[in-house]
Amino acid sequence: MGNTTPADLKYTKNDEWVRLEGGTATIGITDYAQEQLNDIVYVELPDVGAKFPKGESFGVVESVKAASDVYTPVGGTISAVNSGLEDQPELINTDPYGEGWLVKFTVDNADVSDLLDADAYAAYCESR
């Protein structure tokens, strides 16, 4: 289906991606997820400073088809949110791994070895 899975990211089975740079993790939803959701019309994100344990829902992505919770693959404190999504939630559809990022976390623990790498995630999507 022409999905791309950048090799430098880690992935979850809930279809989030995470980019770890030093102590900061940038999180978004994958190309597969945006394609399943269809046109995204609204995004609900937390405030900067909010804390979330690993695995907790930190926001909601709403499309014409469904509203889906987004879960953080790392525990930590929100250091930035993508305010551009307020007016242009469709950025998640057009550029899920770039302009469509959701939040940045200052992570409690930089270990993401339990997450899927690009090949494993691509295989997981293929199997569904």
Partner: protein, 491 residues
């Protein structure tokens, strides 16, 4: 669409009502309470009547066409229900009438409580909840109060399978619990291993929709109930799909502790915009003291000469009232009438025909559409609305094309665990000719998808309005041309 907005028919100074001349001295309202910005159309009574009757002709309804809306049980509502609800003794009864003056209404409510308890195998029923969601809320509040009453405050979680109604996790959150989602196994049943792993002393209970939103009767329901009971949790059954159970299975006898009924689904009271709904709750002895009130009881047994005397009571440990007065009484009259005209064997026939109709369509369409859980279904089933080798034809396009054939689209994109889901519930009230016609149309649409996919992508073609821009509708909330009033303009 040819029908203009009522605002566009407005003529300054025109009015639909003639007020009598003042026969008391005029007393002007205080200036600060008056506003001149209220934007109301000025139209005659005849204009209003024609406008809304014309709009009503553009609607699809169960009285005008087939309505296979899964999860919603859009069955035909017998008109005798309406006759009963309009009897002046019911329709004009003042809610403040004392019990003595409302004995007929109380007797009807008592009988309906008894019938619903019998149908579901429970010990007691409260008719108080005003709709299904409020029934769910009441049920979970009862579970909460039950644990609190025992001094057990560590139970903070409720289990919810991913094939549950969308309202279930919402109810759990509203009641102050945390929802824990359970996966389904490859047959569409609850994953028993995942369930057993999740069961511990932090579980207050489980909410499960039976049959599930996949239209499947949970294959190992007794194991599910036992696992939850063994860890001290209570079992809540979402009874929205009772149209596949009544007369055949009693949830109370399976071991459930509480359930709600949707009178507006199973028992043919008006649905959707024609509501209001009604969502009574049934419970076993364990939860009986916690029922929402008021509940109708016999306060004096009477004698051979005297009928029993009915009264209202709030149960001793009740979660309280859910709304003013006594639930939606007009719906109680309709459901009572419906159960009364069907009787024991009729109730069972409803279920048998609902299940037969759904399975007939499933089998007839299984070679044309992918049926992801292709096993004997309950009153509804889910198929996938896309085709191998056809790009960009989706469940939505099939739904819109159905409108061109005069059929209401099924529920689509739900449940979420099936890609491109189309959830089809024919109900028992449709005959074989209608159902065969629907099957033919579905096959025709599948052929069109392959031969001329644009025909589907641009559908509907015969509806009063063409394909709506759902993205714009969701993002741009100011709908049309009228100036936005001050109170709605925001900052």
């Amino acid at each position: 669409m040819s029908e203009p907005l009522i605002y566009d028919m407005s003529v300054a100074g025109r009015t639909g009502a003639l007020l009598p001349a003042l026969d008391v001295p005029e007393s002007p309202l205080p200036k600060e309470l008056l506003r001149d910005t209220l934007d109301l159309p000025e139209v005659s009574e005849l204009q209003v009547m024609r406008h809304f009757v014309r709009l009503s002709h553009l609607n699809h309804s169960i009285d005008t066409g087939f309505y296979p809306l899964g999860s919603c049980t859009m069955k035909y509502n017998p008109k005798i229900n309406e006759d009963a609800a309009r009897l002046p003794g019911f329709a004009q009864l003042h809610p403040r009438t004392d019990d003595e003056g409302a004995q007929g209404a109380l007797a009807l409510m008592y009988q309906l409580q008894t019938w619903l308890a019998e149908i579901s195998g429970f010990q007691a029923v409260s008719l108080a909840p005003a709709a299904g969601a409020q029934g769910e809320f009441a049920g979970i509040l009862m579970i909460r109060k039950y644990h609190q009453d025992r001094g057990d405050t560590k139970r903070t979680k409720i289990l919810v399978p991913n094939s549950a109604h969308g309202t279930n996790p919402a109810t759990v959150s509203m009641a102050g619990f945390e929802a824990v989602e359970l996966p389904s196994d490859k047959n569409g049943d609850v994953d028993l291993a995942a369930l057993r792993a999740a069961c511990d002393d932090t579980i207050a209970g489980m909410m499960i929709t039976v049959p599930s939103t996949l239209g499947l009767f949970e294959g190992h329901i007794l194991d599910v109930i036992k696992a939850v009971h063994d860890c001290g949790g209570l079992m809540y059954m979402d009874g929205a799909n009772m149209n596949a159970l009544m007369g055949a299975v009693k949830p109370g006898e399976l071991g459930f502790d509480v359930m709600h009924y949707n009178l507006h689904k199973t028992f043919s009271t008006p649905h959707g915009g024609g509501g209001p709904g009604s969502g009574p709750v049934g419970v076993n002895d364990r939860l009986k003291p916690f029922l929402p009130g008021p509940v109708v009881e016999i306060v004096d047994d009477g004698s051979d000469e005297e009928p029993p005397l009915y009264g209202m009571k709030i149960p001793e440990k009740s979660i309280g009232r859910l709304k003013a007065f006594y639930g939606n009484f007009g719906m109680h009259v309709r459901a009572y009438t419906y159960i009364g005209i069907h009787g024991d064997s009729g109730i069972k026939d409803i279920t048998r025909h609902a299940v037969l109709n759904a399975n007939y369509i499933r089998v007839k369409l299984r070679d044309t559409y992918k049926v992801p859980y292709d096993r004997i279904c309950a009153h509804e089933f889910v198929l996938e609305g896309h085709f191998e080798g056809v790009e960009n034809v989706h469940a939505l396009d099939i739904s819109k094309r159905l409108m061109d054939y005069g059929i209401h689209p099924p529920t689509n994109y739900f449940p979420l665990i099936v890609p491109e889901a189309l959830m089809i519930e024919p109900t028992e009230t449709e005959d074989k000719a209608t159902i065969d016609e629907f099957i033919d149309v579905m096959k025709k649409i599948a052929a069109e998808a392959k031969a001329d996919p644009d025909l589907l992508r641009t559908a509907p073609h015969t509806a009063p309005v063409k394909r709506l821009d759902e993205v714009r509708a969701a993002k741009q909330l100011v709908l049309c041309c009228r100036p936005v009033p001050e109170w709605a303009a925001g900052d």
